[in-house]
């Protein structure tokens, strides 16, 4: 516990149980120094710590008991691993003499979590405990961040030893490419005709938004992003085309495929972002910059790779480049934007309308969380993020049920600032129990359920690729979300028309406690455009 305080931890999300009673007992004694948020389920605690870490940039901390406590964390750990969120998970385990005997609430926690953590530890000597916790924080924060788990058997928790305070170790310094390599990158950029800057979650984590904008202005190039890259630069930055990929914005997708050079920063070329990998690079060279050397040439063979800190590398590249102007390329992009603007029309209860109504009431610090599915794509397409770390979404793992916990963590991380969760009636059903946590802590979270009565994304794929055989995707539930919200002690509203939605939002945004708005939309609204899996811009579905 002393080590946690030493490492700067002020908030823990968790759930007590038999194998962590000793830790919780210490926590009780230190309750003036560390705040503990009790969730409804360990998974919620993991997602909350994730939301907290994403919002603040600090390392999240979770405590859970052995056995089911640890297994309930697994989805949350994997979510954090795929999206590179720094979290230290502390699990209890049965006493050392009971390990391996299938004891009550015993599982091989380190074995289960090995492939979804940067590293994990089991502590077998109390004298190692403090250093292992320090090492866990160091690993979680160093290089590409990620989750680390420390499993502490109960007998180790019961033992004591002298605590020697130490200064917090700075995260490892990333590699620093030589000037020669930076110059080479600058040369390739200067020689390109149609460069496209493509940023991902790494740009958010590195806080490289300003450098990205500086590069874009210096070389007169558009910027697109993966879903994880949203919020890295302001949505209204003049060269920002928004998200690319499977459900990207049309202009961003088109510019991406028309480019002769893709300057990729902090991305991992997920299959959802690239579609057909051969076509993705057939007309373009790729410069790939990432803090994790293993990402370079993993999914896409790059023409040139630079491993290291994005912020530093980008600003060094900008310094090597003269101001450039590309009127022809900009004219093409302006045309793409015009095409996009004329491409779609939206009904009065289209999710875009809903999102815009929310944006009008939100400010630039509002934390926006989502679950996974159609609503997530709509928020990614249409929400104008102004500041980094205001968007919390499960990108890599695509975890339905992420949102409620993440919104709670994000809300705490922002100092209980206004937080909005966009969710679907499917996703919300997965972890709505955490509404209780939001109510207990009087959090100003507005939950907007984009309710179409179906598993919308599944339905959309069934419509497109399975001849409308809607296998198990029609929910048809009789859940009354207004009453449900009230039962949890939150406020509930229902909105089937724009006027009802306006009224509900006005009321919900005035509250300082959780509100749920059940927003009824048509079940056949699809997310467009859509590049089918493994496809390219040639296969784009626009209606």
């Amino acid at each position: 516990m002393e080590t946690l305080i030493e490492q700067g931890c002020d908030t823990i999300f968790g759930y007590p149980g038999g194998s962590v009673l000793n830790i919780y007992d210490e926590l009780y004694k230190k309750r003036n120094k560390i705040r503990h948020i009790l969730t409804a389920h360990e998974q919620g605690a993991a997602h909350a710590a994730d939301g907290y870490a994403r919002t603040t940039g600090k390392t999240g901390v979770v405590i859970a008991t052995s056995g089911p406590g640890a297994t309930n964390l697994v989805t949350g750990i994997a979510t954090a691993y795929l999206d590179s969120t720094p979290i230290v998970f502390i699990t209890g385990n049965v006493a050392l003499p009971l390990i391996g005997r299938d004891s009550f609430q015993e599982v091989d926690t380190t074995g289960i979590t090995m492939p979804i953590t940067k590293h994990n530890f089991i502590v077998k000597d109390v004298r190692e405990l403090a250093d292992v916790i320090r090492e866990a924080f160091y690993i979680a924060r160093s290089g590409r961040p990620g989750p680390v788990l420390v499993d502490i058997p109960k007998d180790i928790q019961m033992q004591t030893c002298e605590f020697q305070p130490l200064p917090v170790r700075e995260p490892a310094k990333p590699k620093c490419p030589s000037d020669k390599l930076i110059e080479k990158a600058a040369e390739i950029i200067a020689a390109s005709k149609r460069p496209y800057i493509y940023i991902g979650g790494g740009a958010v984590i590195a806080g490289a938004g300003e450098e990205v904008q500086a590069l874009s202005e210096r070389i007169d190039a558009p910027v697109g992003c993966s879903m994880m890259g949203l919020s890295a630069i302001p949505a209204d930055f003049k060269n920002n085309l928004g998200m690319t990929g499977m459900h990207g914005r049309f202009a961003s997708l088109k510019a991406n495929s028309a480019a002769d050079l893709i300057i990729a920063a902090g991305v991992r070329f997920s299959d959802r972002a690239t579609g057909n990998k051969v076509k993705y690079t057939q007309n373009a060279r790729v410069i790939h910059i990432d803090i994790d050397p293993a990402e370079i040439n993993k999914n896409i063979s790059s023409y040139f790779g630079l491993a290291g800190d994005l912020k530093q590398i980008l600003s060094r590249i900008v310094n090597k480049l003269e101001k450039q102007s590309r009127p022809e390329w900009q004219a093409q992009i302006a045309e793409m934007r015009r095409e996009e603007a004329a491409m779609f029309t939206y009904s009065e209860m289209h999710p875009k309308t809903v999102i815009e109504k929310v944006m009008r009431r939100a400010d630039s610090d509002t934390i926006v969380a989502t679950d996974v599915g159609q609503h997530q794509m709509w928020v990614s397409q249409f929400y104008s993020f102004k500041k980094p770390r205001t968007f919390l979404t499960s990108g890599g793992l695509g975890t339905m049920g992420f949102g409620m916990g993440a919104a709670i963590g994000g809300c705490f991380g922002s100092g209980k600032h206004r937080t909005v969760l966009f969710t679907g009636d499917g996703s919300f059903g997965m972890n709505l129990n955490e509404l209780a946590t939001a109510v207990s802590n009087k959090l100003p979270i507005v939950v907007i359920i984009i309710n179409n009565g179906v598993l919308g994304m599944v339905r959309q794929w069934q419509t497109a690729f399975y001849k409308q055989r809607y296998s198990q995707s029609v929910l048809n539930r009789k859940t009354d979300f207004v009453k449900l919200a009230e039962a949890f002690g939150a406020h509930g509203f229902r909105a089937s028309t724009p006027a009802e939605l306006d009224a509900a939002l006005d009321k919900a945004f005035k509250l300082k406690t959780p509100a749920v708005i059940d927003c009824i939309i048509d079940k056949d609204v699809r997310v467009l455009p859509m590049v089918p899996p493994g496809g390219s811009i040639e296969n784009i579905i626009i209606k």
Partner: protein, 174 residues
């Protein structure tokens, strides 16, 4: 790109569970492993692995980079076959009769092997060498009848005064 074999020298911490971390990385990322050998080194804090794996240049690059990300992995180097001493070890138990005994012993000598156990109806032979030599002996021995055999994964070190401990300039990624 062409699939080919490559040899890795890997220094890891000498701790419980390290082998699991390495082998699960290979299975999780769908890399093919031909052989893996691990044992402690002269430094009790370190173990050394020799891993022989299959894949094209892209796979090889990924294997090396992914291994380097593991906390317990201290050093990973690709060992170039031309510049590496590579040895495997074989223990093989063969059926013998009065009439075959002497020709088996003779052939063991030709293969520079050693008879390590000798019975009325069986003989156990130890042979060290490159993979192809061991394969050749196994093929030869099959005619006499193999009772059982046990073959260790390859061990590899680079020729010359260099070592895995050397802190060479790891080439920048291009």
């Amino acid at each position: 790109m062409q699939e080919k074999q490559f040899i890795l020298g890997v220094l890891v911490s000498n701790k419980a569970g390290v082998l699991t971390r390495i082998s699960s990385l290979f299975s999780r990322r769908n890399y093919n492993i031909d052989s893996l050998n691990v044992a402690a080194t002269e430094n009790p804090a370190l173990s050394r692995m020799t891993i022989i794996a299959q894949g094209d240049d892209g796979v090889r690059e990924q294997v090396v980079k992914q291994l380097r990300k593991l906390y317990d992995v201290k050093k990973v180097e690709v060992l170039e076959p031309d510049n590496t001493v590579l040895r495997e070890h074989l223990l093989i138990k063969l059926k013998v009769t009065k009439s075959t005994r002497s020709e088996i012993v003779e052939s063991v000598n030709i293969f520079r092997g050693k008879v390590v156990d000798f019975n009325i109806d069986s003989v156990t032979v130890e042979i060290t060498g490159e993979s192809s030599k061991l394969d050749a002996f196994i093929k030869f021995a099959a005619d006499y009848g193999i009772i059982e055999m046990c073959r260790a994964g390859a061990l590899a070190v680079r020729r010359g005064g260099v070592s895995l401990y050397d802190d060479e300039d790891s080439a920048e990624i291009l």
